[in-house]
Subunit: 359 residues, 4 copies
C-alpha cells in the first residue's frame, strides 16, 4: 500500500527491475487532456540508461505501451495504464548477490521486512522503478503546461564541484545540451571529466539537483500537513539515493535574521502582488505565492561500486561483495528528469485539489 | 482534506489560533494502550509558550481534555479526541493586520486561495496548531515506548552558533536542562545569550533541530513513496518555518565517494547484523535497518519581528507593517518537542503498517 | 481508522454514548459557505431523543458548539470541528450490562475485537454517534442547497404497515407534520398507534425509510467502485440497525424483463435529455443522470427490548438479560434525518469530486 | 480516483472493454503468500464469456499475465500487477452506437460527465472490468483460505423463479455443476430453460445471487463507517447491474419484532460463544461474530437487448437503438464468481485491518 502517491491525481507504480515489466496506473487524470505520446517517450528517453559513457551501460529501449484510459488521442477520465517491458535483464549478473547483503543497498532491510526478496537487480528497490514515475510525470507535465506551468531541473553540484551562480543568472535551457545536465557549459565539462574519472576508479560520487518551477498560480498547496514544500520534500525523498531536501533559503536561511530574510510585498506595474526577494522559494504558509518555486535535492554516491567491500550473507556470515554488473558512477544527470517528474506529480495533484478550495 | 496525517495511526487536527479551541482526533490508535495523561500534559508543557524569556510571552496553560476513546485508563480502539481551549487570545493585538499582508507569513496566500482568512494570530496558519500534534505525538510515543523506541530531539544550531559534536558524543538528556534545549551546556549558554540579544533587537533568527531515534526495529518504512525518511521529511517540512530536511550523511554526503560512504555490514557478538558506520542514518531502501535513525531539520528565522516592514494591504496598496504582539525570537527551543511528536507519529504509523507486511 | 468518510468532503466522527462529548471534524468543506447555525441545530433537533412518546425518553438537548473552521459566519476552508456534550447519561442504568452480552448488540463483537469495551450505553456502537453525522450532514446540505439539490426522506413502512403510494403521488412536506415522519397522514396515524402498542409490550419493530433527491446535476458518482449508488449504499448500511439497501427498481426489478425495465431517453421541451421512466433511480453506470435519485433503506427492529432474554456473560456463562433503560420501539422516525444527512454527505463529496472530472 | 478499493489490501483496476488490455494492481498483499496461478485462472474461467448458450458468445480466453510482485512462486509484499489482453473485440459491432445513448446504459452519463467516452463495447463501463476484480479476488481468496475462510455464492432467483430453500438446506457445491449456478438441480433446470427462452426473445431478465461465508473469525469489520456489511454492500453495489443488497434477515426483517428477531447467545460444547439464530447474518455492530456471514445481491435485467428501443443521440435527436452485438440474457450465472471475488476483497482488507486493532 505504499506504491501509491497523490490524492486526486493519483499514481500507483509496480514492477521489479528484472520482472516482466514495470508500469504505472494514473487514476484521477481529468478527461479531455491531449495525450502526447511523443512527449512522454521523450521524457523516458531523458531518463533511460546508456545515454553517455558516464551513465550505466544497461541497454533498455524503455518504450512504453498505453493499455487504457486514452481514446482517440485524449484522456477519458478513466485510469491510464502505462507499461514498459524489461528487455535487457542479464539476470545472471546478479545471481551472486542472491545470498549477500550489498552495503548501503536495500537487500538486508527488504529481506528482514518481507522474509524474502527478488534480488535480481535490486528487484522492487531498483531505481528502474523511477521510469514509471517519469512516464506518469510526463502526463502531469502535459496538464500543467496547459496552465502555463514549466518545471526545469538541472545539476548544480557533483562531489565538491559546485555551480556557484543562482538559477536566475543561468540559461536553464542549456542543461539539456550536455551529458551532465548542468546549464553552465564550463562547469558541465569539469563535472563530466570528474565523473568519468570516478567511473574509471570503479567508484561513485554524489550530487545535487536544483529545480525551478515557473508560472505556478497562487494557491497551490494545502495548509498543515500537505503543504506544497512538504509534498515536494516527500516526493523528492522518495527517489532512490536522496538524502536531503531544502527549498528557498533552505539550510543557509538558518543563519539569517528575520529582518533580512523576510520577503517584503509590493504591487508590480501590472497590479500583481509580488515579493521583492524570494527567500520563501515561492511558498508561504505551505501555499504557492506566484513567485518562482525553487528547491534543491541532495543525492548520495550510488551504493553500487566496482570494488570489493566487506559484508555479510543472509546467514550473517562474513563475505566479500565484489562489484559487478553495470552502474551509474553519479546518479544526478539521470535524476534530473525524475526530479522534474515528481515535481510535476505533486503540482498536478495540488492543482486539482485547489479547484475545490472555494464554493 | 489536508489536516490529516497517517495511514493507520491517523490524526486530524483542527483549530485556529484565536478560535474557541484547537484539537486533534486520533483514528486508528490500537485498543489496550495505557493512556498516561500526565505524560501527555508534560509533552504539551514542553511546547507551551512562556517557558523562558527567549520564548513568546503569550500565556496559555495548554491543558487538554479527553473527549472520547479512553475508558478506565485504556484506549478502546475508537477515535481519541483531545481538545485544548484557547484562553489568552488578545485578539485586539491583531486587529491591525486584518487588512495587511505580513511579509513571509501565510496572510497573502490564504487570502488568495480561500477568498478570506481568519487573521487573528494567523488563524489556522499559526504555529499554535502544533500543540495538537504534540498531544497526538505523545500518544504515539506511549505506544512506541512499549516497543522500546525512544525519540530525542535537540537544538544543534542557532544562527551561526553550531554544536560541532556529533550526537554520539553528547549526553542528550542534558537538552531538557536548559531553555535552549541544546545538550551541550556551554553552547546552550551562548545560544541563550545570542537569542536574547536578537529578542532585544526585535529581530528573529533561525536554527537547526537534530533528532535521534533509538531502539526502532528493522522493517519500519515502506518501499517506493512512503519510505521512512520520505515520511519523516514530509512530517518535518509540515512544521511551520521549516526550510530543509536531511538524514544520515545528508547534504554533506554529496561530496563523498561511494567507497567511503557505504556502510559495510558485520555481525555483532550477539549475532545481530549491524553496520560499521551509519551514513545511512538508520534507513536503507526507505526501511529502518536497526541502527540509530538520525535526521536534521532547518528552521528559518520567525517571520514575526518587532520592526517596521514594507508590505501591501488586501487592496494591493503599500503599507508599513509594524511589529506588535508577542513572538518567539527563535523557534527552535520550542520546536524540539514538535519534531519529536511528528517523528513519533510517523513511526507509530509505520510500525502498525509493518504488522501487515507478511502473511 | 474507520470513523472517517469521504474523499474530499471528509468527515471524522468521535465519541462514546456516555463519554464527555461526541463530535465531528469536517476536513474538506470549501471556503465561503454561509454557516447557518440555526439550520444545523434544527437538523439535530429532528434527530434528538424525546420528540414524542414513541421515541426514547432519554433527554439530551443536543446543542452543538463550533470549535473551529468558521469565521465571521463563513467557512474558511479549514477543518470545522463540532462537538455535542453528553448531558443525560444515567450511567448507572447500564452498570448491569458491563458483564453481559446483549443479544443482537455489538457487545460481544467489540469485546472480542478490542479486548475491552466502554459498555455504558453501547459506548462507540451507540446510535448516539449519528448525531455527529447529522451535524456534518447539515453542513453538506447547506452546500448542496446552493446547487439546488434537495434531499427528503420519509418513513414508508413500519412492521407490515406499508405506504403503498409511490413518492411521486405524495406530498413529502407532510412527513415532518407527524411523529412517525410518514407523509400520508392516515398511514402515519396507523403507524403511530402500532408503534405505541409495540412500546407498551416492551418490544420493538423494524421499518423502511425512503429517500428522494431532487435537483442533482448530471455527473455525480464515479465509475467502478465509487458509483453513486455504491456510496449511498455504504453510507446507509453504516447507520445502526440497517439491514438492506435498494435504489430505483431495487429487488423488485429482478423480476422484470429488460424490454420493460429499460428507461428510454427523450428530449424534453426545454432541450434537456430525460428518461421516460425512472427504474434507474436517477443513476446510470453509477453516475447521476439528472432524474430524481431514489433509494430505500431497511431497518431491523431495535435490539434493545424491555423483556428478558437468554444470553451469556463475558465468561460465557448463561445469564438473563433484563430490559432496562430507555429505547426506541421503532427507529425509523428518528432515522429520517440520519438518512438525509448521510445522503447529503455522499452527494457533497461526489459533487466536489466531479469538479475535477474534466480539464 | 475511483478505480481503487481497499485500505490495506488495496486494488486498482484499469482498462476499457475494447482497449488493448484490462488489469489490476494489488498494492498491499502481504509477502509470503503462495501464488497459485492455476487457481486464479480457474476463477477467471468461471467468469469468462461463452461458457454456455445462456451467456454471451463473445469469445475471450481471459488468460492473465503476471507483470510484477511474484518471485519464485510467492508474493513479495510489492505491488502485484495482473493484465488480461482483450482479444475478441469486434469493434465494428459497436460503431453504430458511437452517436447514440443506449437506454439504461452509462452512455449518456459518461458523455456528460467527461465530455467524451470510449463507446466501444461500453468502454470503461463495460462489465468486462469485473474480470480484473475476479483476478484480484482470487488472490484474496488464497490469503483467506489460509485462515480457513470459504466464500460461496450461488443463484437463488431468476425473474420470478425462486429457490425457496435456505442455504443451510442446500448442497452449495452443486452450484458449479450447472450453467445457471443454482445449487438445486431441478430449479437450475427451470431457470436455464427460462433464460434460454428470454434469450430467444432477444430480451433479458434479472436475478439474485446469495453468498455465504464460512469460517470467518470474530472481529472482521470496523465500527462506524467501515462496518463489514457496509463494505460488502458497497462492494456488491459497485458491480454492474446491481440494484440492491441485504444481509441476514434483510428487508424481510423489517416486519419482525425485536423479541423474535434478536439472536440469543449461548456457549456451545466447545466453549465458543454462539448465537441460536442468525438473523444478524454473522455481523453484529458491523463486526463478524463467528457465525456464517450471509447476504443477497439483486441484479436488474441486463440493459442490452436484441430489440429496437427509442432513444436520443448525442445531439438530443430521436433515434431508434437496434440491439446488436452479443449479450447475456441474464447476468447472474456469471455474476456468481464476481460476487465471491468482491466479498473476498472486502474480507481480505478487513482481515488485515483487524491485525492492528489491539496493541
Amino acid at each position: 500500500m505504499s506504491s501509491t502517491y497523490g490524492t486526486i491525481f493519483k499514481i500507483s507504480t509496480f514492477g521489479e527491475s528484472h520482472g516482466p515489466a514495470i508500469g504505472v496506473i494514473i487514476d484521477g487524470c481529468p478527461a479531455g487532456l491531449a495525450f502526447d505520446t511523443d512527449f512522454i517517450q521523450h521524457e523516458l528517453d531523458r531518463r533511460k540508461p546508456g545515454q553517455s559513457r558516464i551513465t550505466t551501460q544497461r541497454r533498455e529501449a524503455d518504450e512504453f505501451e498505453v493499455l487504457s484510459g486514452v481514446f482517440e488521442g485524449y484522456t477519458q477520465g478513466t485510469p491510464i495504464a502505462l507499461i514498459i517491458r524489461n528487455t535487457d535483464q542479464r539476470s545472471k549478473d546478479y545471481g551472486h548477490i542472491s545470498e549477500q547483503f550489498r552495503p548501503s543497498h536495500a537487500d538486508y532491510t527488504y529481506q528482514t521486512k518481507y522474509g524474502s526478496r527478488d534480488y535480481r537487480g535490486g528487484g522492487r528497490s531498483s531505481a528502474r522503478e523511477t521510469a514509471a514515475r517519469v512516464a506518469a510525470g510526463a502526463v502531469a507535465k502535459l496538464m500543467l503546461a496547459q496552465q502555463g506551468v514549466q518545471i526545469t531541473a538541472y545539476v548544480s553540484q557533483v562531489g565538491k564541484l559546485k555551480l556557484e551562480k543562482p538559477y536566475s543568472e543561468l540559461n536553464l535551457a542549456l542543461a539539456e545540451e550536455n551529458a551532465v545536465r548542468c546549464p553552465d557549459p564550463e562547469t558541465a565539462e569539469q563535472m563530466f571529466d570528474y565523473i568519468d574519472g570516478i567511473r574509471k576508479q570503479g567508484d561513485s560520487v554524489g550530487g545535487i539537483v536544483d529545480c525551478v518551477i515557473k508560472g505556478a498560480p497562487v494557491g497551490l498547496g494545502e495548509p498543515v500537513f500537505d503543504k506544497l514544500h512538504a509534498e515536494l520534500g516527500k516526493a523528492m525523498l522518495s527517489i532512490n539515493a536522496v538524502k536531503g531536501f531544502e527549498y528557498g533559503s533552505g539550510f543557509a536561511g538558518v543563519e539569517q535574521l528575520g529582518s533580512t530574510h523576510n520577503d517584503e510585498f509590493y504591487t508590480d506595474e501590472s497590479g500583481r502582488v509580488r515579493t521583492k526577494t524570494n527567500q520563501s522559494g515561492g511558498i508561504q504558509g505551505g501555499i504557492s505565492n506566484g513567485e518562482d518555486i525553487y528547491f534543491r535535492t541532495a543525492f548520495k554516491p550510488v551504493a553500487t561500486i566496482m570494488q570489493d567491500q566487506d559484508s555479510v550473507d543472509v546467514n550473517g556470515q562474513p563475505v566479500t561483495v565484489s562489484g559487478k554488473g553495470r552502474h551509474d558512477p553519479c546518479v544526478v544527470p539521470r535524476a534530473v528528469p525524475i526530479v522534474e517528474a515528481m515535481a510535476a506529480l505533486v503540482l498536478a495533484d495540488l492543482y486539482l485539489r485547489n479547484k475545490v478550495a472555494k464554493v
